[in-house]
Amino acid sequence: MEVQKGELFGLIGPDGAGKTTLMRILMTLLIQDKGMATMNGFDVIKDYKKIRNMVGYMPGRFSLYQDLTVEENLNFFATVFKTTVSENYDLIRDIYIQIEPFKKRLAGKLSGGMKQKLALSCALIHKPEILILDEPTTGVDAVSRKEFWEMLKNLQQKGITILVSTPYMDEAMLCNRVALMQKGKVLDIDTPRNLVDGYTRKLYAIRSNDMHRLILDLRSYEKTDSAYAFGQYLHVTGKDDEVEATEFENFLMRKNHQNLEVFDIQPTIEDVFMELLGIEE
């Protein structure tokens, strides 16, 4: 795979898909068994020192010093990268300004969202050309996640190439391009738009009053291929694309479902991923 300069590239997949391992290889922290990888043209094995100078990295776990204050953490990482906070303040200002009121607080005492902002500030302090973020939004609430992606968009506009991993499918739509990963393999790489457009099967959204019974009934129906819950609707595919909405509707009416709704729906990236998973298995 290739990531273009200035791109916001997403590695999407569940735990165990190999996202972290790939990032660590790119970060020169692990050595691959086979094959090669370059960052800005530098080989991840031979030129690891150069890469370590120009990449910003935020590992999956919160990896700052909990017993140091916000300010001390930031200053420490600045000196480690032979720079100062004031020198690159422009880049981190938008993010850091939100945690600045707490700069005397120990990092361990920050809330989840603030920790994340501090970690991002520290990863950015040396003006990296490439930013690698390993599951920055895992376990973070929806509001903080949204804010975080807005920050990433801003950074991208400043010309930083960003490689980010996430288990949340909905975040895939926010990337320029994504790689869908599962069990160490890349299932597909494309823009989210193309991935969704590449989904050619007919997809129906179905709901009724009793969703659980609805799933069970649909799965027992011989013309159903898959039926999965998606928010308030079920997303259902037929055995082949000839299966019409009315067929589902009639079947479910016979099963006494109330307030039935059946209609065509555009797939989401999650549908695409699940389809790919299905093919894999």
Binding site: P14, A17, S111, G113, V140, A229, G231
Partner: protein, 245 residues
């Protein structure tokens, strides 16, 4: 779902840590067999409230009853009647599936003959019969989560508390997990669940959204979306969080 029988009642529940109010006058009921979504931003006070309801922590003031037992005086009875599963701790990785089941059966006083019977059914339902003597650590995450849930309701608790049960698994496994939740709910077990996946909020019968220690909204996903004129729960959540900031 039986709307008439509350299994959790919370009245004016307050929990303070020093001057910090983690739970500010919580009031809600959860009914038997209900799937109750307990949402909120990080640090909104979800974990604190959940600990209180599980009998692990005492509130500063207010009343709460879980499975009909007072959480101040009858914590032991509360604990007997609930199940708990979190993403962080579920089962012992270095014990086999059968050993884990035996251990947790022992904890809840299930007789060996009952255990054998239920264990067989459980493994059959999950399709894990062949994995009976495998170490938990060697199983895929999705299986572990399913097992952890099944073990959490092995003693037929009235309520099961799930703390972000589906973190980190692929979308199909996540949905299969919800099938189990629905089944438990059909059997009359109340499911009290926290999650960061907003689409999962839609699967709940009712959802409460916490912010800064207070419950800002509590209703069916349908009504919440109408009330906040939002397309989905994600928007509802964002609106509530933004409003109160």
């Amino acid at each position: 779902m039986n709307q008439q029988v509350p299994v959790i009642t919370v009245r004016n529940l307050v929990k303070k840590f020093g001057s910090f109010v983690a739970n500010d006058h919580l009031n809600f009921d959860v009914y038997q067999g209900e799937i109750f979504g307990f949402l909120g931003a990080n640090g909104a006070g979800k974990t604190t409230a959940m600990k209180i309801l599980c009998g692990l922590s005492s509130p500063t003031s207010g009343e709460a009853k879980v499975a009909g037992f007072d959480i101040y005086k009858e914590t032991e009875k509360v604990k007997r009647n609930i199940g708990y599963m979190s993403q962080k701790f579920s089962l012992y990785e270095d014990l086999t599936v059968a050993e884990n089941i035996r251990f947790f059966s022992g904890v809840y006083g299930i007789s060996p003959s009952d255990r054998k019977e239920k264990q067989q059914k459980l493994l059959k339902d999950l399709g894990l019969e062949s994995a009976k003597d495998s170490l938990i650590g060697s199983l895929p995450l999705g299986w572990k989560q399913k097992l952890a849930f099944s073990v959490a309701i092995f003693h037929d608790p009235k309520i099961v508390f799930l703390d972000e049960p589906t973190g980190g698994v692929d979308p199909i496994t996540r949905r299969k997990f919800w099938d189990l939740i629905y089944e438990a709910s059909d059997r009359g077990i109340t499911v009290f669940v926290t999650t960061h996946y907003m689409d999962e909020a839609e699967y709940c019968n009712r959802v409460s959204i916490m912010n800064a220690g207070r419950i800002e909204a509590l209703d069916t996903p349908e009504n919440l979306k109408k009330q906040y004129s939002a397309k989905n729960m994600d928007e509802v959540f964002l609106k509530i969080a933004r409003n109160t900031e």
